[in-house]
């Protein structure tokens, strides 16, 4: 491995790389090597974004679409966490439950969340339940798995101490396993959020009548490429913000526990 670069070098190279990328992107459509319809220049996309902030497309402005998407995401994510985390803890504590549920869980895991879309469409039409169900399918496994792993990896001495102190099952799970598993659970939530947000996009491409994904599909149908790209940028930014918030939360918890590096 090579030597680390100085901060100045890193910035310079980064700048060059970025500049080349943006430069080529800008040059291709502007010079006319590639039709504007096919690849709008970054400037066009930026302008389009500004326009979409106030002017509706496919039924709502960009912020409104984002809002719809986010609510669906949040609902599905919350459901996945509220059901998945307790399930993971219970499976981690009661071996019988683990043995019964694990095979079913492992089997279903291979079915991509997006494959639930047809059923979602069948059961919910274009209502909010459809996307929520897909998001749930995406976010659920990491919640369960990380809660389960967290519970299984609790220091056995802590469990013995709790047993010695006469702790019942419910309290064992809520006051011992759950707090002990928080680092693992939060890491799982980050993964779940990522998967959930991705599943949302997929779901909205098919079974929605509002939301950023829907907007992109409509734009694609109208060959409004710059709008499609605006959607992509918006999705990327919101996804980043969600991940950043969760990462902050994770670090705060690690610091509180004295686990920070």
């Amino acid at each position: 491995m090579q030597q680390r670069l100085s901060w100045a070098e890193t910035v310079t190279y980064g700048f060059i790389g970025l500049a080349v990328f943006l430069g080529v992107w800008y040059a291709l459509p502007t010079i006319g090597l590639v039709p504007q319809q096919f690849l709008p220049s970054p400037v066009t996309v930026l302008n389009r974004m500004v326009v979409l902030m106030t002017q509706p497309f496919a039924g709502a402005t960009l912020p409104a679409h984002i809002g719809y998407s986010f609510i669906r995401f949040f609902t599905g994510f919350l459901l996945a966490a509220l059901i998945g985390i307790p399930l993971g803890l219970i499976m981690g504590w009661f071996r019988v439950v683990d043995e019964i549920v694990a095979p079913i869980f492992d089997g279903l895991r291979f079915i991509a969340p997006i494959a639930w879309v047809p059923f979602a469409a069948l059961w919910f039409g274009t209502g909010v339940g459809g996307p929520v169900m897909i998001i749930f399918a995406g976010a659920f496994p990491p919640c369960v798995i990380n809660a389960y792993r967290g519970a299984k990896q609790v220091d056995p001495q802590l469990i013995e101490a709790a047993e010695m102190l006469g702790t019942g099952h419910l309290r064992m799970m809520t006051e011992i396993l759950l707090p002990a598993s928080v680092p693992s659970i939060v890491a799982g939530l980050r993964v779940a959020a990522g998967l959930g947000w991705q599943s949302l996009v997929g779901a909205e491409l098919i079974v929605a009548s509002t939301g950023v994904g829907f907007m992109m599909v409509q734009a694609q149908g109208n060959v409004a490429t710059s709008t499609v790209m605006c959607g992509m940028v918006a999705i990327g930014i919101v996804g980043l913000i969600i991940d950043m918030l969760l990462r902050r939360g994770e670090e705060a918890i690690r610091r509180r526990r004295g686990l920070a590096e």
């Binding site: 491995m1 090579q2 030597q3 680390r4 670069l5 070098e9 890193t10 310079t12 190279y13 980064g14 700048f15 060059i16 790389g17 970025l18 990328f21 096919f38 019988v96 043995e99 019964i100 549920v101 694990a102 095979p103 079913i104 089997g107 279903l108 291979f110 079915i111 991509a112 969340p113 997006i114 494959a115 879309v117 047809p118 059923f119 469409a121 069948l122 059961w123 947000w197 991705q198 996009v201 997929g202 491409l205 098919i206 994904g213 992109m216 599909v217 734009a219 694609q220 060959v223 490429t225 499609v228 959607g231 992509m232 940028v233 999705i235 990327g236 930014i237 996804g239 980043l240 991940d243």
Partner: protein
């Protein structure tokens, strides 16, 4: 101990199947329009395999999807792993490429579908493109991490022994990064399947996702279930094959499996 686990596991699955029969057929709690009965499922399965549905038989659809997965997967990891290795090894390359990579990364693979359709139409090429975006990222990240995790003294020893660059890459760096690369491969494969099914759902003329799409429009729940389970089985199968490859390639690794 192991036997008990297998027995309970099988019992659980059996229990689910029995429950399925019970809720749908015997007690009629779940209406057939919402979720297929086992009998419906079996009929649909027979239909698609023996007579065909959505334009082809089941094995044709499955084969088409499988082919796409293999091609896209290979292209994605074939580009992603070398790039990740390069970025891990060469700090300048990393500094150059990182900003662009960081820009592209947050965009969910599925979000590329509309753009891919605009650019490449509804055919296979668009699917390969979208899957590429999905499978590319985990491969890069894990190859990068794999290189960084190689014990420094191993590299220094190789240098001391006068290893020429090409051999350094193929016989030192690549094997050293291999465990983490495989972790990336597993993630890439998972992403590939998710993306393919989605891409085929949105715009295709053949494939598992297309079956799902048509079944949904026909309001044919039993066929939907057939599609889902086929996707699951294919996903499991490819993961299993990857696991076999990993085991044989990584037999030297103490951990065996990252």
């Amino acid at each position: 101990m192991r036997n008990r686990k297998t027995i309970i596991g099988l019992g659980a699955i059996l229990g689910v199947v029995v429950l399925w029969f019970a809720l749908s057929r015997w007690f009629g709690i779940i209406p057939a329009s919402r979720f297929p009965t086992p009998a419906d499922f079996w009929d649909a399965l027979k239909q698609i395999e023996l007579r065909g549905y959505a334009g082809s038989r089941l094995h044709d659809h499955a084969w088409h999807s499988l082919r796409l997965i293999v091609i896209s997967f290979i292209v994605a990891v074939g580009t992603g792993v070398p790039l990740g290795l390069l970025m891990g090894w060469n700090r300048k390359a990393e500094a150059l490429i990182n900003p662009v990579f960081t820009l592209i990364r947050p965009i969910p693979p599925l979000a590329w579908i509309p753009l891919a359709i605009l650019w490449l139409g509804l055919g296979d090429a668009a699917k390969v493109m979208v899957i590429w975006f999905a499978a590319f990222v985990p491969s890069v990240i894990n190859a990068h991490a794999g290189v960084r995790n190689i014990d420094k003294s191993v590299i220094e020893a190789a240098r001391m022994l006068g290893t020429p660059p090409f051999r350094l890459v193929t016989e030192v760096i690549l094997p050293g990064a291999l465990p983490m690369i495989f972790t990336g491969l597993r993630l890439s494969l998972q992403a590939s399947w998710t993306t393919l099914v989605a891409a085929e759902l949105v715009g295709a003329l053949v494939g598992i996702g297309f079956v799902l799409n048509v079944a949904q429009q026909d309001i044919y729940p039993a066929m939907i279930l057939v599609g889902m389970l086929t996707a699951g089985v294919l996903g499991w199968f490819t993961t299993f094959i990857l696991g076999l490859v990993e085991k044989s390639v990584l037999s030297w690794s103490v951990r065996g499996r990252a």
